[in-house]
């Protein structure tokens, strides 16, 4: 059952079309990944889901309620973990969580117990009375999450929740996302980190220029590029000796790209031309430092579909 339905939504800023006739359905109980480079329209889409900005055309429904006509109701179903840490440094952790949860109607003892639960969930219970001023980036990110979940929302929107934090805190956050989902929360997760999306999300939408360019499970998306093999060869020097046209003459090779001292050779699946590729490099007298045969991942999918790297 769809918990969020996005129907032919368009958002324009002057002449710029941020989201272009986009349609999506997010199912109840799933972790849904939104992938796309900066400026692809992810944040605009999230802001429309949370009624923070108006929709020019189309409709978004959360639990069958229209976000345009029932904004307060739809807002009450969601909790948002913004990309930027949005907490007050002059309020204690508990005061921060209580304040934001209070905006969703929680009061009195229930408010306090839910706020404490959220702090426990994010591993900050022992810091409840501390001010976040001296916290590490990871701890602040965890508090950022606690502020979004204390009111037990059915849908949690996480906009790049792991930016700029240490691996330990990142791992904590990823485990938290899984646990929230296990408890029944639907999670909409955006990230630049492909491996996070691969690890967490059951379905993924790749967005570029305000449109969904691919949608499906990880396996479905990878199947888009299953016909491709990728070999990365890193050479010591004389990279200018490499002639891309000569490499393309090797049977099965479809494309060649050169980045600094790394040559990326794309071939048709099952073309079995690795030996020929290595032979080409040795014939040119180039010292090979490293050879890497890559299995298609979401980065490859993204690159194939958009011609750009995700972090471009």
């Amino acid at each position: 059952m769809s918990i969020v339905r996005i129907e032919n939504v368009t958002k324009k800023y002057g002449n710029i079309v941020a989201v272009n006739d986009l349609s999506l359905s997010i199912e109840e109980g799933e972790i849904f990944g939104l992938l796309g480079p900066n400026g692809a329209g992810k944040s605009t889409l999230i802001n429309m889901i949370t009624s923070l900005i108006t929709i020019d055309e189309g409709n978004i429904y959360i639990k069958d309620a229209n976000t345009k006509s029932n904004a307060n109701l739809t807002k009450s179903f969601t909790g948002i973990v913004p990309q930027d840490i949005a907490i007050y440094e002059d309020l204690t952790c508990l005061e921060n969580v209580k304040f934001f949860a209070g905006l969703y109607g929680l009061r009195g003892k229930e408010l306090k117990s839910k706020a404490m639960e959220a702090l426990e969930f994010t591993g900050l219970a022992d810091k409840a009375k501390d001010f976040p001023k001296g916290f590490s980036g990871g701890m602040k990110r965890r508090l950022n999450i606690a502020c979004a979940i204390a009111h037990n929302p059915e849908i949690i929107i996480m906009d790049e929740p792991t930016v700029g934090i240490d691996p330990q805190s990142r791992n904590h956050i990823l485990q938290s996302v899984k646990e929230l989902n296990r408890r029944g929360c639907t999670v909409i997760y955006t990230s630049h980190y492909m491996e996070e999306v691969e690890e967490l999300c059951s379905r993924i939408a790749i967005i570029d220029y305000g449109k969904v360019i691919a949608l499906g499970t990880k396996q479905e998306l990878k199947s888009i590029v299953k016909h491709k093999n990728e070999v990365w060869v890193t050479v010591k020097n004389n990279i200018d000796k490499i002639v891309q046209e000569e490499l393309k003459e090797i049977p099965g090779v479809t494309d060649v790209e050169i980045y600094e001292n790394t040559v990326m050779v794309y071939s048709m699946h099952e073309s079995e031309n690795l030996e020929s590729i290595i032979a080409y490099f040795t014939s040119k007298g180039l010292g090979i430092l490293q050879i890497e045969s890559k299995v298609p991942d979401l980065e490859t999918v993204f690159l194939t579909l958009t011609g750009r790297k995700l972090r471009d």
Binding site: N47, T54, I80, A86, F100, G102
Partner: protein
């Protein structure tokens, strides 16, 4: 309830901001000390009313003329104010304009009009206040005469009957430098409450907490009401500290009608906090908003008599001063304290609340617009 939640949050944050609280409380107190000492020579404890001359023309009913002559005689005897008859209205107006007289009183048939010169602010206000008092008593007697002619005879035969109640006017006192700066420093520093309103909105934008608040089911009016009431409460608390210190520790004169004076102060505070919030949403760049406030406050304060009394400045400044809401606030407070004159109170409150209403309206229109999120 969301409004209350926001008010409590604001209060917690503002009370914890020790630096701002110290500046807003200690600085005006220190300035009251310094300025009252430095300018003590510019303020007299008593006004030499003997130097004050008032021009008048009279062409009224006989009874009014007789009563007014009695009134002038009493004022001259009690306060030493000189009354000089002008030949015609034109001459009277010109003389007042040329700063030769404090004011010109025109009595025509059964109406009295007063033309004042702002340079004689205090003495002109004092005369105006006494003329008002006279007019009230005269009107009352007129009404009695119409309905009960016997009673009027008894009243007029009473030797204690007087058209002027001079003792109620606190007439011979003008503000000392301490009295003056106790009032003006408080009202001046209330202008800086606009920074509280400004920071309160701007910090939510910087911290991105506004994003989070607007993503919750909080209505815009709940957010703004919570913000303004929270900021207003802390600004009033700071003002009360300055007021209490000035009144009870420095013994500055705040008059006998404290509630009215504080009402004018409250109106000013509502205005400044609202203007601060409005500036925050109108100017996306933080530095621009702060610059606007930091330029506007000293200008408004100077034109409002915050640093030196307007009676000690030139005509041009006096004319320009009408654009400063602080001028109306200070004038209303001083008139209440020294003249028992409430005529400027509704004007001052009206101006403050009017400006606040426009500011709140603009803030409400701009708040939550996509760019500010």
């Amino acid at each position: 309830m969301n409004t209350l939640n926001i008010i409590i949050k604001e209060l917690k944050q503002l009370v914890r901001d020790k630096k701002s609280n110290a500046i807003m409380i200690l600085l005006p107190i220190v300035l009251i000390f310094i300025l009252s000492k430095a300018f003590s020579g510019n303020f007299g404890q008593t006004l030499k009313l003997g130097d004050v001359s008032v021009l008048y023309t009279m062409n009224a009913e006989e009874s009014l003329e007789q009563s007014f002559e009695m009134f002038m005689e009493t004022i001259n005897k009690e306060l030493g104010i000189q009354f000089v008859e002008a030949s015609k209205k034109k001459e009277g107006l010109k003389a007042v304009k040329d700063v030769k007289y404090a004011c010109y009183i025109m009595i025509e048939e059964n109406e009295i009009e007063i033309y004042k010169n702002e340079r004689y602010n205090f003495s002109a206000n004092l005369v105006e206040s006494m003329v008002r008092s006279f007019a009230k008593r005269y009107d009352a007697l007129n009404e009695i005469a119409k309905s009960n002619p016997q009673a009027i005879e008894a009243i007029l035969s009473d030797e204690t009957m007087n058209f002027t109640e001079i003792k109620s006017l606190d007439g011979k006192r003008s503000p000392s430098s301490l009295d003056y700066y106790a009032v003006t420093m408080l009202t001046l520093f209330l202008l800086y409450s606009s920074l509280t309103g400004y920071s309160s909105i701007k910090s939510e934008q910087y911290l991105r907490t506004q994003y989070r608040i607007f993503a919750s089911p909080v209505k815009k009016h709940e957010y703004l009401t919570g913000k303004i009431i929270g900021d207003l409460s802390i600004s009033l608390l700071q003002a009360m500290c300055v007021f209490i210190f000035g009144k009870y520790l420095l013994n500055a004169n705040w008059g006998s009608d404290i509630p009215t004076v504080l009402l004018v102060v409250l109106a000013e505070c509502i205005m400044t906090v609202s203007l601060g919030a409005c500036t925050a949403v109108l100017f996306q760049k933080g530095e621009t908003g702060i610059a606007v406030i930091n330029i506007a406050i000293p200008v408004m304060a100077f034109l409002g008599g915050g640093y030196v009394p307007l009676s000690q400045t030139g005509d041009a400044i006096n004319k320009l001063s009408v654009i400063s809401p602080l001028k109306w606030t200070n004038e209303a407070i001083f008139k209440v304290i020294y003249n028992n004159d409430y005529s400027s109170v509704p004007i001052a409150i009206g101006i403050s609340i009017g400006i606040a209403a426009i500011a709140i309206m603009l803030t409400a229109i701009k708040t939550g617009k996509e760019k500010s999120i």
